[in-house]
Every structure is written in C-alpha cells, then in structure tokens.
C-alpha cells in the first residue's frame, strides 16, 4: 500500500492507495505515529482497493488515539468497496466521513 501525505489547512491528509489489510495496516499506524499526537488528520480512502478487519482495526485504533489526544480524525472519499465494509460493520458511526477531502480539511 502506498501512503502519500500532504497538508491542507491544519490537517495532515494521508491518501492511501492499494490494500489496507493485515500486512499494510502497520505501515499506516507507523505513518500516523510519526505525527504529534495532537495532529489532526484526514485519511483519503478513494484508492483503497480492499479493506479487511485488520485495516478497520487500524483505522479504529487511530481514531481512538486521536480522540484521546483531543485531535480530529476524518475519513474522506470512501469508494463503494470500502463503504460496504463500513456499512456492514457499522464502523461508520465512529467516524466523520466526507465525500470531499477539501471539505474534510476545511471543517
């Protein structure tokens, strides 16, 4: 999985490309751990081909840590495959989900 990073307003925007699964989830966690705890982030999921329970676990874990640090984590541009997993697992109730990266970083 590739992770590209940019900054919009005060948010670090991480664009993921590829599969977010057991083998790639640690890379995402490491990437996020490289930021200060109070750094708010937006994760762009448009190019995520596959998401499994480990990938979900990584996202939930990051969200919990950010919440504990009073930072914000948002998800943006979920494609249908990813949205389906969030829907069936009801994980969407945990996240602020935007259909546009700039809207997520603006709010």
């Amino acid at each position: 999985m590739n992770i590209s990073e940019k900054t919009i307003n005060n948010y670090k925007v991480l664009s993921l490309r590829g599969m977010l699964n057991a083998s790639s989830a640690p890379a995402l966690k490491t990437c996020v751990a490289g930021f200060p705890d109070e750094q708010s982030i937006v994760i762009d999921l448009e190019n995520v081909d596959f998401l499994d329970s480990s990938g979900l676990g990584a996202l939930v874990g990051i969200a919990r840590k950010k919440k504990a640090s009073k930072a914000i984590m948002k998800l943006a541009r979920m494609n249908e495959r990813v949205k389906k997993v969030f829907e069936i697992t009801q994980a969407h109730t945990l996240f602020d989900i935007y259909d546009d990266v700039s809207a997520a970083a603006d709010a």
């Binding site: 676990g57 069936i88 969407h92």
Partner: protein, 458 residues
C-alpha cells in the same frame, strides 16, 4: 436538481419497536415502501440524483433501492453522526451538493404531493431556503436561481410520522382521499381499488372499496375485506374472517372466524393504533407471521459448527470431568445464568456463563483449555448457539444496540473479537463481529475458532 434525504435513526426508532423485522424506511404506506414516496417526489421535482443520509443502518434500504436504476435516477448512500446539524451534513456531502440546486428533505415525514402536478418547473423557479417545515422535519432548497414564484403557494404539505397512530391515520387518509395522487402498486381496473399479482379471491369473498391488496394474497371462503383496508404482500386471510379499516402487514396469516377492525396486524402482533398498545398473539391459528426457511448456506455453517463442537466435546470431556469438581470444591468455578438475545427477532436464549479463577495452575489449565465454555458447546449441537460468532448480547438495550436490527447476529460460544484479539469495548467488538458474519464461511470459522482458543489465553 439533486435530492438529499437526511433521516436520523432517532426519528424512526419508534417504528422499529412496532415492526421489528422491517427497516423503518421500508415500512409500507399503502403497500408502497415509505422511501419510495421520497424517491417519487424527488423524481417529480426533476431530480436526477438522490443521496440518502442516515446515522443508522441503511443496508436494507440499499439492498432494496440499489443504485436507483429501477427509477431512472442515481441513488447513493452516506452516513452522518447523530449530532450533526444540517450544515455539517451538507458539508460532509459537499461534492454531491456542489454546483446544483439541491432539494433537502430532512426528517421522518410524509410529503403529501400530487403526481398530476408539474413540480419540475415549480422547483426550478422557487427561491432557495426552507420551503416547508413541521415539528419533525423540513424541506429546503439550496443553490441560487432567479426566483420567479414565491413559496406561498407550494402545492404539497408535510405530515410528521412519530407515532403508530399517525402512521395509521396517514394510511387511512391516503386510502380515503389521496389514492390518485401517488403511484400505488397493484392493478386498478376501477377507482379506489388496487390489487396485486397472484391474488386468489374465491367467489364467496366480499371486497369493499377503497381497498389495496398486495401480491401473493390468498383470501379464503366467505372472507370480507371491508372498506378502508390495506392487505400487504404474502398474506392469507382464513375462512369467514372480516378485515375492516385495518392494515395487514406483509407475511401475515389471519386465522379463521376473526374480525380485525381498525387495527394493524403484523406477523403475530395486533396493534391498536389509537392507544399504541399491541398484543402478541401466541396462538398461531389466530394470527402469525410467515417466515422463509433458512438458507442452505446457513444450514451448512451450522452443520460444520456442530461437527467441530462435537470434536471439541470429545477432546475436552475428560479434562472437564477431572478439573470441574476440584475447582468447584475450591470455589474457583463460578456460574451465572443470564438471558441473551437470540438470532431470531424477539427470541432469547438463557445461558450459564462460567468464570474460573486462574490464579493457580489448575485454574490456569482449565482456562487454557477453555473449559469455562465447555457446557456451551452442547448448545451448538442443539442449534441455540454458533461455535463462533457474536458475543451473546445480554437483554439490556443500554449496553449495546439491539442485535435483531443488525444482519447476521448469531450468539456464539467464541466470538470473532476474541479470535482477532480486538478489545472488548463498546462498538469495536461489534465491528469485527459484523465483518466476519458477512465475510466468513464454514472453513474460515474453524480457523477463527482455533485463533479464538489461542488468543483468549494469550
């Protein structure tokens, strides 16, 4: 023009209690799923795309409406947080709302419209802003356009739906005076009478208008469907029964020699719309629900679980017989009986949960072998539990959401969360359980059981 439909779960929670087996947005209003009225209205206003947003589950709605190709519109779905205000929801859907006029329908309300009117021209010329509102919602237009008409003569009205009484009144109102305003399912050879496909009506049956009868309905000899009645799909009305001013929901059997007057019958529930009280009919000869048999895939899964449970019983029997009495005498084997939700709506299962003090070697050994779950394995053989699935949810809605509203909930001896070593906090556990309930298969279940056996002790 686009339409954004924003409905919060809290607004329709009352309907879940009344009709637990149906998603509230799919509850039929005069035999037409509620959400279809929104879709129709959006189409009449000239919308080419519709987005349905909720903080609750939309899976069932999505399976029903799909991508909207059936109606010639593009339907998409989105989520929101319960506390999100309308501007936040619009912001979260900025890409959808950009560059077009957007009709925003907010709340669980019914829009009284008339299909014979030209809403497309009207909505194209209406000024932006709130067009109509009621106590539980509103209709708003966004986007700029040169206003040509004022919002004073808007030819539709709203009814908030927040009680079973209002739901019943709405159905009756449509039946009595608004049937021609909407696209109602069924064949109508004469006014105020809609009849679906595959309806068996004997010569001795009597039907009085206005009436709506759904698909696959069987009326038996001498039945009377009196005025102002709505009979849903897959309904049987047995001999010499009278339905009058009532709504019979889908998949319901009405027994013989009964008179159902001014009521809502749904499965084995009989609801009085005036008081809101309901009676569960225990006698299936009077009133009962008709359910489909389990899918073959579920049966295969259960068989594999039963085989694996048998194997585990055989392996763990001797350790259990040896360790159980010793730990019991030491007071380290504690048991608590509790009632949990079952996988069928409204059903429960009572289980004895065991906890073992593992502060010394014998206790540790018993825990390592998962002997605390040994007796539960027999429940797998009887089909009451799965070998691996969801943590059984105690009957306490304050703890977690009612599992019957979710798909795939199956209480089990071991849980997917234990297998994946997810922390047991709130919704996190449910996330992984939902994931495997949908993505699992019998073989994967065996592998996950092995993982659970290993992980719960490490």
């Amino acid at each position: 023009m686009k339409t954004l439909i924003v409905i919060r779960e809290q607004e329709y929670a009352w309907l879940r209690d009344m009709l637990p087996g149906v998603h509230p947005l799919l509850v039929p209003v005069c035999n037409k799923p509620f959400i279809e009225f929104f879709i129709d209205f959006s189409i009449f206003t000239g919308s080419k795309a519709i987005r349905i947003i909720s903080d609750g589950l939309l899976g069932e709605v999505e399976r029903y409406c799909e991508n909207g190709s059936r109606w010639g519109v593009e339907i998409s779905y989105g989520s929101m947080q319960p506390a999100d205000e309308l501007p936040t929801v619009i912001d979260k859907n900025r890409r959808f709302c950009l560059e077009e006029r957007v009709l925003i329908i907010k709340g669980f309300l019914f829009i009284h419209y008339d299909k014979k009117r030209d809403y497309t021209t009207l909505f194209a010329s209406l000024p932006s802003g709130e067009l109509l509102s009621c106590c539980h919602g509103s209709i708003t237009l966004t986007g700029t356009v040169k206003p040509e008409s004022s919002s004073a003569d808007i030819p539709f009205s709203l009814t908030a739906l927040d009680t079973v009484g209002k739901y019943y009144s709405l159905c009756m109102e449509i039946l009595r005076s608004e049937l021609t305003n909407y696209v109602i399912p069924g064949y109508s050879s004469e006014a105020d009478c809609y009849i679906g496909r595959n309806v068996v009506i004997p010569k001795s049956a009597e039907i009085k208008k206005p009436v709506i009868i759904g698909n696959n309905v069987q009326l038996l000899a001498n039945t009377v469907i009196d005025t102002n009645s709505v009979i849903g799909n897959n309904v049987i009305v047995d001999r010499e029964s009278i339905i009058s001013g009532s709504i019979v929901m889908d998949n319901t059997y009405i027994g013989e020699h009964l008179e159902v007057k001014n009521k809502i019958a749904a499965g084995n529930l009989l609801i009085d719309p005036e008081s809101g009280t309901s009676i569960v009919m225990e006698d299936p000869h009077l009133l009962t629900g008709m359910t489909q048999s389990r899918a073959a895939g579920t049966l295969l899964r259960r068989m594999v679980h039963a085989l694996a449970a048998t194997f585990m019983i055989l392996v763990l029997l001797w350790p259990y017989l040896l360790l159980r009495p010793v730990l019991g005498l030491q007071g380290k084997w504690k048991r608590v009986r509790e009632t949990y939700y079952n996988d069928l709506p409204g059903k429960t299962v009572t289980l004895t949960k065991t906890t073992i003090d593992s502060d010394e070697p014998l206790g540790q050994l018993a825990k390592t072998l998962s002997l605390d779950r040994f007796t539960l394995l027999f429940r797998v053989l009887s089909g009451k539990l799965a070998l691996i699935g969801y943590h059984p949810v105690p009957i306490n809605p304050a703890l977690r959401i009612i599992p019957n509203n979710t798909t795939g909930y199956t209480p089990a001896v071991f849980s997917y969360a234990e297998a994946e070593d997810w922390p047991e906090i709130g919704i996190d556990t449910e996330i992984v359980e939902h994931y495997y309930a949908v993505h699992g298969n019998p073989l994967k279940d065996i592998a996950m059981t092995q993982k659970a056996l290993f992980n719960r002790n490490h």
